[in-house]
Amino acid sequence: MNKTTNILLPNAFEFVEDPQLDSDSITRPSVTFWKDVWRRLFKNKVAMLGLFIITIITILAICVPLFSEYTYKGQDLVNANALPSSTHIFGTDNLGRDMWVRVWVGARVSLAVGVFGSVIPSLIGIVIGGISGYFGGKLDMLIMRFIDVAMCVPSMIYIILIMLFIGSGPISIIIAFALTGWMGSARSVRGMILQLKEMEYVLASKALGASSASLIFNHLIPNTLGIVVVSMTMGIPSAIFYEAYLSFIGLGVAPPTPSWGQLSNAGIAVFRVYPSQLMIPSALISLTMLSFNLFGDGLRDALDPKLRS
């Protein structure tokens, strides 16, 4: 080995820039958190496709019933069960009502029911589950056993009681959802919190004097949201179909107001003869769900600080 090549000469060095200047700066362009979220979301084409479809469906749900020449309740018994055509884009139902308008009026009902019907019970569940998991011990035991009982009492009993005391209508539907749907998310949040509360950062916050409420709501629950949001989105179709079931036994939206769930239920009875009456509402439910999930996944990835690259 030639030793001379290893000799360091002063001209072998060269100034870059003041190292002090650069060491604090970040290699990526400086953007705020939300700007960054949006940027990454916009780059995600699949998520944008989801958002696009949701927007189209929302616009149609708002506009079609306003501008159509038919109403969702106008009957024409002579033209019942018409196939899709230029006069009735989606055909008509068994009472001769225009399906195109009914589908979009139904979208209003089902989107609202789907979102509220899965968000409200989840929120209740998150709070109860969070408290139960964090405090543990006797309180946890009491809340969990209460959940065991609440899960087993047939929901039909609550439904009929709500029907008797409050009557049918939007408030009753929300109460029915809230009463019957919170237990699952409470248990799931509680389970995750049992695990999370043993983490070092919780111990650190505790040592720094954080209150229980701040620990639960600022540290623990945000860490469960990834999973809760997924179960929430997965709960939308069951909320849509639960509404149809509630309507069928009299607690849902009063006839003749349609919903996607009710339209699908009516469609399954005739799908061997009029397949379009089943295909249209169920394809729309699936498409909406797919869009929600694609957009939701994109949003989740965009929001997750751990996945920044």
């Binding site: 018994l77 019942a80 068994n94 009472l95 009929i160 009063a254 006839p255 005739v270 003869v273």
Partner: protein, 563 residues
């Protein structure tokens, strides 16, 4: 971008697969079944020279399982259907007429108040003889309050029955049912009733019962194949609860020569699409009660009607919203029954303009024909009249327009057909009269609770029309416990009582018609239609007939042609 493309491809593939296969359901030629129309056929074996198949096995599908094999407690049509084949009643109702069953003949004595049945030599499926005592035991067990039967009132015409079953008299011997010897059964009636034989024939509880079996199995009698014994054309060999019921030909049956089928299987399949799929695949030979829409795929379907009459009950008591007669008439007259039936009802449904079922018969004759016509509402309604009644009603109520009326509460059962009817009626009343009707759907027990406690304004009642011509009308008497309309009309009540006590049939029907006309003019309830039932059957099944009661498939004399 590639991801999106592949995703879209996937979606379209799935949708294409889905629509592709459903669309082909239309292309597929409908099963070419030639349904044997019950009304015309009897039990001839071969009528067009086609020989019988070697395998005489018949399979059909039904939506619900039977509830019990205990004849004393039986009250559902599915149990009745199996009992009809697995046991032998005194007299049968077959193909629209009364035929002799276990009774070889009967005599009517004492001016119609006594019936004497002479029994054949018949054996139970285990070889024991059937005696008149088995009938006496069966009927008295049914009436015994300790048994807990809901069918006691089918025996109301029998002397002493009401007092015994209601607990006023605990002496079973006071009931007018007596086995005078092994082959003779006597029944004493409270008064002559020409409909009583029809009543026994169409009833579902007039079967004999083996005391030793009942005592052996006690509370569990009739809850399984082992705990039941019959003497009918078939023997029950298997009952997989909720899944299937199998019957095999009874070699000991008194009329075994006439029974061609060796095996009958009922499959319990709750879902209509599944039942139709099974029919297409040949898993079942017959489907009963298929929906109006599906009949489009099976142009050779058959229909039957009768047995029930759907009518709208208006709560008509003095404090009710519909206490005003003209308002009720306005609602009744505005209904276009024909349009609703054509659009929504099962094939075979007929518009009704009176509270009478034309399939009610006496000695094989329709009593509707014997009975003078009442003036009812035209099938398409009469909007002019309806509007006139409405303006009279509004004047009487001091209201300016129909929109000032409070919302009318229509209590609706949670079934798809009831809901469709309610929506059609609601739209019709809103369009023609401007009346606002609110539909309140409820599960069956709660809806009937609302009906019985008067928490409704309108209710669609689909009661059975029974055998007696006054079955529906007799409910609506003053203070009648089953006066669903809570309607108080003394003149009507007097007419109903007069006809009930009348023994001369012509006079009775004339009085009943007067009551019916009064009923239609006052409209505490308005007749809508007689629901029909559509059925499909493979063309190789011969001699299948349908009874009046819903769910009654008379397969006992059917046979299978070579195919």
């Amino acid at each position: 971008m590639k991801k999106i493309v592949s995703l879209l491809m996937m979606i379209f593939l799935m949708i294409g697969l889905f629509t592709g296969c459903t669309a082909s359901s239309e292309e597929k030629p409908a099963a070419t079944s030639e349904v044997d129309n019950g009304a015309s056929s009897s039990n001839e074996v071969v009528d067009d020279g086609t020989p019988l198949a070697a395998l005489q096995e018949f399979t059909f599908a039904a939506a619900n399982d039977m509830m019990t094999l205990d004849v004393s407690k039986m009250n559902d049509e599915m149990s009745a259907l199996i009992m009809y084949a697995a046991n032998e009643p005194l007299v049968r109702y077959y193909n629209g007429a009364v035929t002799m069953g276990l009774a070889e003949n009967y005599e009517v004595l004492d001016e119609g108040t006594k019936l004497v049945f002479h029994l054949r030599d018949v054996k139970w499926s285990d070889g024991e003889p059937v005696t008149a005592g088995d009938f006496e035991y069966a009927f008295k067990r049914l009436l015994n309050p300790e048994t807990g039967s809901s069918q006691c009132d089918t025996f109301d015409r029998i002397a002493g029955a009401i007092a015994y079953y209601s607990g006023e008299n605990s002496d079973a011997d006071s009931v007018g049912i007596k086995a005078t010897d092994d082959h003779t059964l006597e029944m004493t009636l409270t008064q002559a009733d020409p409909f009583f034989i029809e009543h026994i024939a169409q009833g579902i509880n007039f079967y004999p019962l083996r005391q030793d079996y009942v005592e052996k199995y006690a509370e569990g009698y009739g809850s399984s194949v082992e705990s039941f014994i019959g003497c009918g054309p078939f023997v029950l060999t298997e009952w997989v609860q909720g899944a299937s019921i199998t019957l095999e030909k009874n070699a000991n049956y008194w009329d075994a020569d006439k029974i061609k089928l060796t095996k009958v299987t009922e499959l319990i399949v709750g879902d209509e699409n599944t039942r139709v799929g099974m029919y297409d695949l040949g898993d079942v030979d017959e489907l009963y009660n298929i929906s109006k829409t599906l009949t489009l795929n099976y142009p050779d379907y058959g229909t039957k009607s009768g047995g029930t009459l759907q009518h709208l009950v208006y709560k008509s008591s003095d404090d009710a919203l519909l206490a005003n007669k003209n308002l009720r008439l306005a609602l009744s007259y505005s209904i276009d029954r024909q349009a609703i039936v054509s659009a929504l009802s099962a094939p075979g449904t007929e518009v009704a303009d009176r509270m009478m079922d034309p399939t009610n018969t006496l000695n094989g004759e329709s009593i509707a024909e014997k009975y003078p016509a009442s003036t009812g509402i035209p099938a398409n309604g009469d909007i002019e009249k309806a509007k006139a009644y409405l303006s009279d009603a509004l004047a009487e109520l001091n209201l300016g327009s129909a929109s000032e009326l409070p919302a009318i509460n229509y209590v609706c059962l949670d079934s798809a057909s009831h809901k469709a009817y309610a929506e059609a009626l609601q739209a019709r009343w809103a369009d023609t009269l401007g009346v606002n009707v609110e539909i309140n759907i409820m599960p069956v027990p709660q809806a009937i609770g609302a009906l019985l406690s008067g928490q409704f304004d309108i209710f669609l009642n689909g009661m059975g029309t029974g055998v007696n011509p006054d079955e529906l009308l007799s409910s609506y008497t003053v203070d009648g416990a089953n006066n669903y309309a809570k309607w108080n009309n003394q003149a009507y009540t007097d007419l109903i009582e007069a006809q009930f006590n009348e023994t001369d049939i012509d006079k009775r029907l004339a009085t009943l018609q007067k009551a019916e006309q009064l009923f239609l003019d006052e409209s505490p309830a308005t007749p809508l239609w007689l629901p029909g039932t559509a059925y499909i059957c493979k063309d190789y099944v011969q001699g299948l007939t349908y009874g009046r009661q819903t769910g009654s498939i008379e397969f006992i004399y059917a046979s299978i042609l070579e195919h």
